[in-house]
């Protein structure tokens, strides 16, 4: 039992033993009647000005009792915790909350004067909209919770925080609307989070690993978003949200594949436009995945898939190309993936030069030199762009595209069909917290189709999605 003794020197020594780091400082000062106080704080994460205003100055004039309760009443900080265990006090110091000790103290006081490092709330780079809110989550969970509270001003909103990570002690907050979210999902999420035993939780994506029943699967089981308006809308539909300190990516469960085809902007434009855009995304994605595969399969196995004039044009273009069509396509695809990866990682000031290299050298010059053919470049370029029509699925779809290409090159058009059948089978089995990932298509839920790949007018969306099993089914008056 490492409770504080009340002897200031001994308590100080114990704290210093637990926190030997050089940036943990102590500040002794005296009160009006000469009694000694000691502040122990972690220098980088403590707001010293606030500390001075809310703790040191009031105590400078203090001449009251010695109990923790009486001393606490003197302080002007609204966030004061009384803790009697030295280890708990050490944890508070590391969290950025300075600890106040004095001679004869029955408990230490942790003062909430932490310095919050967070960037400004700005539009997230991964989710850009033309119309609609531009706020995005930041790396501080409290600010993120504030953004959620700002949008859901209801007493039904519950924020349940747990600490995950033995050494990082990352705050993870579970958000849900009581009476709307499926409580079975809420309980399951809390249970999973409680069981996580990990050293450090640097990002919310680590949580995805624990929340997914098959973490190695390509299929997502957890939704992600960087925007508080989308996050709140998902919670209001009946999902459970998770915010992790240090990560701007919020998680939502259960996850439906259809939600990645939706964008916040769909709800700010006319329904017909939104429907058109969603179908366009689907078309772009399917084209991106299947076009390279069918091009290869047609060239190698079934020329009849091309109209004859197009075939002759392609044959003219590929004359003299040293590689077989499948290898050529694979090579161009890999080059595109390398370009993609490099463009994300490269410093901004060399970005322009390397873009020129990518476009001119690898594109046009390679064609002129006869290494690759023009149709291959066009197809892969369109495919690359098409995949980004649904950016949230890019990790999975780029792998599927590659596999589809391998299958097409090795087994032909029927191989593509069988692989598609396999994918459909596989997706039908995937579930996210009891809900099929393919809902509302499989199982078919007619009511939920109104806001899936097509979007009806707002007046038709008065009921919450049935797939999410919400207790409160109606969200808008008829």
């Amino acid at each position: 039992m490492n409770k504080i003794t009340g002897t200031l020197r001994r308590d100080e020594a114990e704290l210093k033993r637990l926190l030997p780091a050089e940036d943990v400082l102590t500040f002794p000062f005296r009160g009006q009647d000469g009694r000694e106080f000691l502040l122990v704080f972690a220098d980088p994460v403590t707001d010293k000005e606030l500390l001075g205003e809310q703790v040191i100055r009031p105590l400078g004039d203090y001449g009251g009792g010695m109990s923790a309760k009486e001393v606490a009443e003197c302080l002007t900080s609204p966030e004061i915790k009384q803790l009697s265990r030295v280890s708990d006090l050490a944890a508070e110091i590391l969290a950025g909350n300075p600890v106040l000790l004095w001679e004869g103290a029955d408990a230490g006081l942790a003062c909430g004067t932490k310095k919050v490092f967070a960037r400004a709330v700005a539009e997230p780079p991964t989710d850009v909209t033309v119309k609609g809110p531009r706020e995005g989550f930041v790396e501080d969970v409290k600010i993120n919770c504030a953004l959620v509270r700002k949008r859901l001003k209801t007493c039904e909103l519950r924020l349940h925080t747990v600490q995950i990570g033995r050494r990082s002690k990352t705050a993870v907050t579970v958000c849900y609307l009581d009476g709307i979210s499926d409580m079975a999902v809420v309980k399951q999420v809390k249970r999973i989070l409680r069981r996580i035993d990990i050293d450090v939780l640097p990002d919310s994506s680590y949580l995805i690993h624990f929340l997914s029943p098959k973490p190695h699967s390509l299929v997502k089981r957890v939704g992600t978003t960087e925007k508080p308006d989308i996050f709140c809308a998902k919670i209001a539909e009946g999902r459970v949200g998770i915010l992790a300190d240090g990560s701007p990516i919020a998680l939502t469960v259960p996850y439906l594949l259809a939600e990645d085809f939706q964008s916040a902007e769909d709800y700010f434009v006319p329904a017909a436009r939104a429907t058109f855009t969603r179908l366009l995304r689907l078309f772009a994605l399917l084209t991106a995945i299947y076009l390279p595969a069918f091009y290869i399969a047609a060239q190698l196995y079934k020329l009849q898939l091309f109209p004859v004039k197009l075939l002759l044009t392609i044959m003219g273009s590929i004359q003299g190309i040293p590689l077989s069509p499948s290898l050529e396509m694979l090579l161009v695809l890999l080059v595109l993936e390398v370009l993609n990866e490099a463009s994300i990682r490269m410093p901004k000031y060399v970005g322009m030069a390397l873009s020129v290299v990518g476009a001119l050298v690898l594109g046009e010059t390679a064609v002129r030199a006869g290494f690759v053919s023009t149709p291959a470049i066009i197809i892969i370029a369109f495919s690359g762009i098409g995949l980004y029509a649904v950016p949230n699925l890019i990790e999975a779809t780029s792998v599927v595209r590659l596999l589809m290409l391998l299958v097409a090159g090795s087994t032909g058009p029927y191989g593509i069909i069988l692989f598609t059948a396999f994918l459909l089978c596989f997706l039908c089995r995937c579930e996210s917290f009891g809900t099929s990932v393919l809902a509302p298509f499989s199982p078919l839920i007619a009511r939920d189709l109104k806001d899936s790949l097509v979007k009806y007018e707002l007046s038709a969306l008065g009921m919450r999605p049935r797939a999410l099993n919400s207790k409160n089914k109606r969200r808008m008056a008829p």
Partner: protein, 394 residues
């Protein structure tokens, strides 16, 4: 416990093994495949009969290479054999290219081949799963080899120029009777054993009119030092078949009459002699039909046209030109001309035994008893009445 762990990891290992197999087969890429560069895309095939077999002329597309793209050269490759598959093998042996008929849009029969047995020529193509039976069929004057070897004045390859004659737009003029392999075979194998196909002739193009395009022909059948003049093709005549053999050829007027009867003419012209000059009437609307009565056995051909005057051999006054509606006399002359053409068409079909109107098929489907009671060819037992009405539209 170990077994449990093994079975738990087994699916992942199986997937990895499968991926390895797929990658291996992707890079080896050999299941009896034919590289696209080693494929001979046959655009059209000409079939001639020799003394003891067949002579196949395949017009193979040779794409123009480079980054310019577009455009097609054609090369003729010929081979002889006892059967057509032998001829195809001969082409393979000569060129090293695997011949593919999947893009073959035109089958041209030489005159001799058509007269001997057209169905025998087409049998190979009907059997093949890789041959589109929507390809066009036609008979040509002389040999198919000669026609396909000519240089076209309107296109790079002779076959492409011929195919232009059989577009839907060309059929609407009424000057051409398009026929596909499927329809021809259906007729020949049907109860009427009849069929028809366009009869193709190659004519020299005018020297001043068509300078002729570079066709890049040559290859297997050699280039002569002096190039032949470019040709234009016409398919205004129609060959008639009965029991697989060509029995006769319709005149262009009879071909037009047949198209009018089918109601297929939308942009054609009918020319008749009226009021001392030849007048051309543009067809605005064409309705046609064939009615078959069984008691008595009679066929009625009816054609109804709405026409407008488009030209005359003798000049007209300006008010006449601006009016454009044909006179009653002109309409009557057109009616007589078309009726005469229809009658001569029927007579030609009766003589050749070719039931191109499908009367036998209709009788068999709707009145099978009467069909069974026929003693000879139906057309010989049928009486004909013709009703033609031409209305002027101003």
């Amino acid at each position: 416990m170990r077994a449990e762990r093994f079975f738990r990891r087994l699916p992942a290992r199986l997937y990895l093994l499968l991926l390895a197999v797929v990658v291996f087969s992707f890079f080896s890429n050999d299941f009896g495949l034919v590289d696209i560069q080693k494929t001979a895309i046959i655009l059209s095939a000409g079939i001639d009969r020799s003394e003891d077999g067949f002579y196949l002329t395949a017009q193979i597309a040779v794409p123009k290479g480079g980054t310019d793209g577009g455009g097609t050269n054609a090369v003729n490759v010929c081979a002889a054999g006892d059967t057509l598959p032998e001829c195809v093998e001969g082409i393979y042996a000569q060129t090293g290219w695997v011949p593919k008929f999947i893009f073959c849009d035109l089958l041209l029969l030489g005159e001799a081949a058509a007269e001997k047995d057209a169905v025998a020529c087409l049998d190979f193509f009907l059997r093949s799963e890789y041959m589109p039976d929507s390809s066009l069929v036609a008979v040509c004057e002389g040999t198919a080899h000669a026609v396909l070897s000519t240089q076209s004045a309107v296109d790079e390859a002779a076959s492409l120029a011929v195919e232009k004659l059989f577009t839907d737009a060309a059929e609407k003029s009424g000057r051409v009777c398009k026929m596909t392999l499927r329809e021809f075979a259906a007729g020949c194998y049907g109860v009427t054993e009849s069929g028809y196909m366009p009869y193709l002739s190659a004519l020299d193009a005018e020297q001043t009119g068509s300078a002729g395009k570079e066709s890049g022909q040559g290859g297997q059948d050699g280039q002569s030092a002096e190039k032949e003049p470019p040709k234009v093709y016409t398919a205004a005549r129609t060959a008639l078949f009965f029991r697989g053999r060509m029995q006769g050829v319709l005149t262009p007027q009879q071909t037009l009459a047949f198209q009018l009867l089918r109601g297929k003419v939308y942009a054609g012209t009918v020319t008749a002699e009226a009021e001392g000059s030849r007048v051309s009437l543009g067809i605005l609307q064409n309705d046609g039909g064939i009615r078959l009565d069984v008691r008595p056995l009679r066929a009625e051909f009816s054609v109804t046209l709405h026409v407008r005057t488009t030209g005359k051999s003798a000049p007209d006054a300006l008010p006449e030109i601006s009016r454009s509606a044909p006179s009653r006399a002109q309409c009557a002359a057109a009616e007589n001309a078309i009726a005469a053409d229809l009658t001569s068409l029927f007579k030609t079909c009766e003589e050749t035994g070719c039931d191109m109107f499908g009367l036998g098929r209709t009788l068999h489907r709707l009145h099978p008893n009467e069909f069974s009671a026929l003693h000879g060819p139906l057309l010989g037992e049928l009486s004909l009445s013709v009703r033609v009405r031409v209305f002027g539209a101003g």
